[in-house]
Symmetry: C2
Subunit: 146 residues, 2 copies
DNA sequence: ATAATAAAAGACCTTTTTGTCTTTTAATAG
DNA sequence: CTATTAAAAGACAAAAAGGTCTTTTATTAT
């Protein structure tokens, strides 16, 4: 469904939030290891997210990644659009450039329902809500993290 | 959502079925043009589908592609699995290798619902049902085909 | 100040996806 | 039988995604 970059971004940010809850700022090496993602690729992805202002970072000793609690919560939708665009939320299942209610492809009606449900899910959930679930319950971030 | 190969495959097969309804066997050049897909890439994709037995072809004069009406209808799910695998129907939204009810990722419950809806859609719809919709109604296969 | 630490930047590489083109094979009409 | 037609096969290439590594810059503890 989502591409690798998006997956690593979500997992990475949720892990950062999880550590932030405990007053810690994890570094790239730790993050990559814990979410089971390639070290340098994760670094590159996080760097882009920092540049976009989705998460903050601090260099040097005691440095690492953290969320600015003054900023609004980061929805999955914003994150996904930033990493892979919005085709998942607008695109036609058939791949047609022009496909809408007035000009539907044969899959349109049923596909639009699913697309809307997906839209709702990623609009409602955010990095913080996912981290909270991981913190309290059965939910896990990586098999290693249970 | 689906990759290009899958999109071209679906559109191509629906177009073939549509022509078959009229007693015709379209060739690759015609198919590619009508579904607005790259000529030779479409050829390659259709060849694979023929080898897999999803559709039939005939070489030489009067040749082209057609469905064997004796074979069962081809669901989108079978088609999608053949072109891009089943990760869309089994994969974790988070990208975890192990993620299920007993070992859920923070997205699992809500994501599984969407995955199931998608599963239902592609299991119920098939090349023939899509072609029928295109034939009778508002639905279109490509803006050109209206 | 300086050494140690950790992210930023960016070059480089591999694999997969997407796409193009030429040659070969099979079928059929005449 | 031959010419024509159309798919099959497969080589090749461009673009995108995924991944690795080295060098630079910024921070901080000593």
């Amino acid at each position: 469904m989502f591409n690798k970059e998006t997956e690593y971004a979500i997992r990475g940010l949720v892990y950062i939030q999880l550590q932030n809850f405990e007053g810690k700022r994890p570094g790239i090496a730790e993050i990559a290891k814990q979410i089971d993602a390639p070290h340098f690729y994760t670094a590159k992805i996080l760097q882009r997210l920092v540049r976009q202002g989705f998460v903050e970072s601090l260099k040097g000793k005691g440095g690492g990644f953290y969320f600015d609690t003054k900023k609004p919560q980061l929805s999955l939708k914003q994150l996904i659009i930033a990493t892979e665009g919005d085709s998942l939320f607008c695109g036609c299942g058939f791949g047609l450039k022009q496909c809408d209610e007035n000009n539907p492809c044969p899959l349109h009606d049923k596909y639009a329902e699913i697309r809307n449900a997906l839209n709702k899910l990623v609009s409602e959930e955010n990095v913080q809500s996912l981290a909270q679930k991981t913190q309290r319950g059965e939910e896990m971030l990586s098999p290693r993290l249970r």
